[in-house]
């Protein structure tokens, strides 16, 4: 039996399904890449991995079968996610699948879907997300990059920033301003473009963890065909809010915090300080926060599976998970003493050693991306208290 055909998978119990994916992963995932958090697959590695998943029939758990995905229930998607985490896989952004595919499914034209979905699934196209601008971060709706209609094209002028992977991507999806309306959320349009279009300049920005995945992207009279608009012109804000299934919860999952905690325990054992750490109040509080974040996340996933998500659920888990992640890496940096200031693993001959400073650095933006902690608190406050009076 070919276990990875959709029908064969459906017939399995949850347990057997979990085992099937675990076995497949153990067989196909490169051992050297089992470095969660610290390792991020580069463009070439990611493309190889995406192709391998695709060939094995494990690509796109949440995407409907008609669109080439596995069409799994939310509960099964969560199992897939859990198996990957247990296997300690490296970070993969896979922006095309995670962020664009759900949008194309809901708002894309048949032509757009037929053109882009297969190439996302095969890893042939690599997408980046052009949302943030120098003057529009958490307050994304203040974006100003212009797209002027000119016949059957839009002409783009302006700048995007903090665009992850723009240097290695082939395509970009964008929010641009096509008109100025009373509400700033109106007059925004969602566009698709290829990054080799003349007039686009990409400039990488090195980040604290030493990666170059951030970029500035400049647009100077860049022509984009009107057929590349997704959804209605001026309705881009609604379009951009679409997320599919488990992906909506993923940024809020405590998985980074749990991996970081694994590194913390590794450090504690490598330094031989467990006997004094086991009653250390900072460690106990970090554990308590992680246990709580996991319990809340599980409760939220259960609500999602039963279709009973509450408005602020994502914000809640995002705050708890990102703050637990940071606190754990802070304690790790502290316990590592001078080791934390070294680049690379603190002892090249010790297999237990790892890059403590990088772990700490990677945790810094966790309370910023996917909506800053302060913005998430505003969202929760709205549902808890109601909107604040306008000043």
């Amino acid at each position: 039996m070919n276990l990875t055909t959709a029908e064969a998978l459906d017939a399995l119990s949850d347990e057997a399904f979990r085992n099937a994916f675990s076995r497949w992963l153990a067989e196909h995932y490169p051992e050297a890449w089992r470095q969660p958090v610290l390792l991020r697959l580069d463009a070439e590695q990611e493309r190889w991995w995406v192709r391998t998943l695709q060939k094995g029939g494990w690509r796109a758990p949440g995407l409907p079968r008609a669109a080439g995905g596995m069409g799994l229930s939310l509960a099964r998607q969560l199992i897939c996610r859990d198996v990957l985490e247990q296997h300690r896989v490296a970070r993969v952004f896979d922006i095309g699948l995670q962020l664009l595919a759900p949008i194309l499914l809901q708002y894309g034209t048949p032509a757009q879907q037929a053109c882009y979905l297969p190439r996302i699934l095969s890893g042939e196209d690599r997408w980046c997300q052009g949302y943030s601008e120098p003057g529009a971060g958490s307050d994304l709706a203040s974006l100003r990059m212009r797209a002027e209609r000119s016949g059957d094209r839009f002409i783009l002028n302006g700048q995007k920033i903090w665009t992850s992977d723009a240097a290695s991507a082939s395509h970009i999806f964008l929010l641009v301003r096509t008109s100025t309306e009373e509400r700033k959320q109106q007059g925004i349009t969602f566009l698709l473009a290829t990054l080799d279009t003349p007039g686009i300049t990409v400039r990488p920005i090195a980040n604290l963890s030493g990666e170059q995945d951030f970029c500035e992207v400049f647009f100077d009279d860049v022509p984009v065909p009107a057929t590349q608009v997704v959804g209605e012109v001026g309705q881009g804000w609604q379009v951009a809010k679409t997320l599919l299934g488990v992906e909506r919860l993923m940024t809020g999952s405590p998985s980074l915090a749990r991996h970081a905690f694994g590194y913390l325990m590794r450090l504690i054992d490598a330094l031989g300080i467990w006997p004094r750490m086991r009653h250390d109040e900072r460690l106990l509080r970090a554990v308590a926060d992680l246990q709580a974040a996991m319990a809340v996340y599980d409760a939220v996933c259960q609500r999602a599976v039963h279709g009973a998500l509450r408005d602020a659920d994502y914000s809640t888990i995002k705050i708890l998970s990102s703050e637990a992640f940071q606190r754990i890496t802070e304690l790790t940096l502290d316990l590592a003493q001078e080791r934390g200031a070294l680049q690379g693993a603190w002892d090249p001959d010790d297999p237990a050693a790892f890059d403590v400073g990088r772990l700490f650095a990677i945790a810094r933006p966790a309370t910023v991306y996917g909506g800053a902690g302060e913005v998430q608190r505003d969202i929760i406050a709205r549902s808890l208290i109601g909107p604040p009076a306008r000043r």
């Binding site: 969660p36 106990l284 992680l290 996991m294 406050a381 808890l384």
Partner: protein, 372 residues
């Protein structure tokens, strides 16, 4: 009966039966405890809800008791549901499982009807999470048996004590009348009264309810059930204090605007809410762990300690924030925020010290399960 139904009827009942005034008057009672409500709770079937049916109870599961505890916390009911309903019921149930007797049926009836009030008198020292069995000993005295040793912080309203003790090195749980002599009575923050005693009491006839392994297995499980319900109760209290704070922030205007329009106040309220969310998720998870294991709350181990620690932290931190948001009113004992604070102090003490729970929650095994 569904949990929802139980909660709805409990809320409706408590709206009439309990209010701030009753809470205020509590301090004037000799036991710190007004028996009227306890009797009404018995009539509602709450005191015996966990008792097996042959003992005159409703045989409802722990989840229902926890849901009810949460409503009692929300309504700021100080009466000791976990200590004097849930825990003694669990003792009688364990005793019944070992050897059914008419004596147990009679005790069950008295407990469920509130004719007697039972409490597990287990604590021997401040900060303990487990009973020290050898601290109280059973000795022969003439024709009968006597119980001698120290037990502390027992609800003054209890008419009978269930005491973990040892008889020649064998663990027992023993029923005695609540001691009258040689007792220290101390009023707690919320007006309730707690009793510490150097026991020298006659063991009642058929008073050894549990013996040996059955006793050493039952008591930690009984404490765990009590703590779970207490954790749920603390969550209910914290939720109420959050709601009270939100409505105060909406009503109270300073510098020309409502407190609820100030971002710093809004974020503070959100952080209170996050504490409650975490505490709620943890006690529910601990409950699931108990159910999944199917062999008693003691086995839930790490999850239960995590839930107890967080419930204690959440209740106190929410109470502190509620007091701050209420301004000077938060320092007035008569305000809901002030009442909530004194209740939280007392109820947190009943769940056990948070740092000890945190330590128990962080066993090496549980940490390895957390790490990935």
């Amino acid at each position: 009966m569904s949990a929802k139904l139980l909660q709805d009827s409990a809320r409706a009942f408590l709206r009439d039966a309990h209010d701030m005034e009753r809470l205020r008057q509590r301090a004037g009672h000799v036991h710190g405890w007004d028996q009227t409500l306890w009797r009404q709770m018995a009539e509602m079937g709450w005191i015996g809800m966990r008792l097996p049916e042959p003992l005159g109870g409703a045989g409802l599961d722990l989840a229902m008791a926890a849901e009810l505890g949460s409503v009692l916390g929300e309504a700021m009911v100080p009466d000791p549901f976990a200590a004097c309903a849930v825990m003694p019921s669990a003792v009688l149930e364990a005793a019944w499982a070992c050897s059914p007797s008419d004596r147990l049926v009679d005790l069950g009836r008295q407990l469920a009807s509130a004719d007697a009030v039972l409490a597990l008198a287990w604590q021997g020292g401040y900060g303990a999470l487990d009973p020290d069995w050898s601290q109280v000993r059973i000795t022969s005295a003439g024709a009968g048996l006597r119980l001698r040793g120290r037990r502390m912080l027992v609800e003054a309203g209890a008419t009978h004590w269930l005491v973990p003790a040892s008889a020649d090195g064998c663990a027992c749980v023993v029923l005695v009348n609540a001691p009258r002599a040689g007792v220290l009575r101390q009023r707690a923050s919320d007006g309730s009264v707690l009793v510490t005693a150097e026991l020298d009491e006659a063991v009642l006839s058929d008073g050894i309810l549990l013996r040996g392994d059955a006793a050493t297995a039952a008591v930690p499980a009984v404490l765990a059930e009590g703590r779970l319900v207490q954790a749920a109760t603390l969550c209910g209290l914290a939720q109420r204090l959050l709601e009270v704070s939100i409505s105060h922030a909406r009503d109270r205007r300073q510098f020309g605007e409502a407190l609820a329009d100030l971002q710093v106040v809004r974020h503070r309220l959100v952080d209170m809410h996050l504490q409650v969310e975490q505490a709620n998720a943890l006690w529910r998870q601990a409950l699931a762990a108990v159910d999944a294991r199917g062999d008693g709350a003691a086995r839930a181990g790490s999850a239960l300690h995590a839930a107890s620690a967080r419930a204690a932290d959440a209740a106190l931190s929410v109470a502190r924030s509620a007091a701050q948001i209420h301004g000077a009113m938060g320092y007035a004992q008569d305000s809901p925020a002030g009442m909530g604070m004194v209740l939280a102090m007392r109820m947190v003490a009943a769940v056990g010290p948070a740092d000890s729970h945190r330590r128990r929650a962080a066993t090496r095994t549980s940490l390895e399960a957390l790490a990935r």
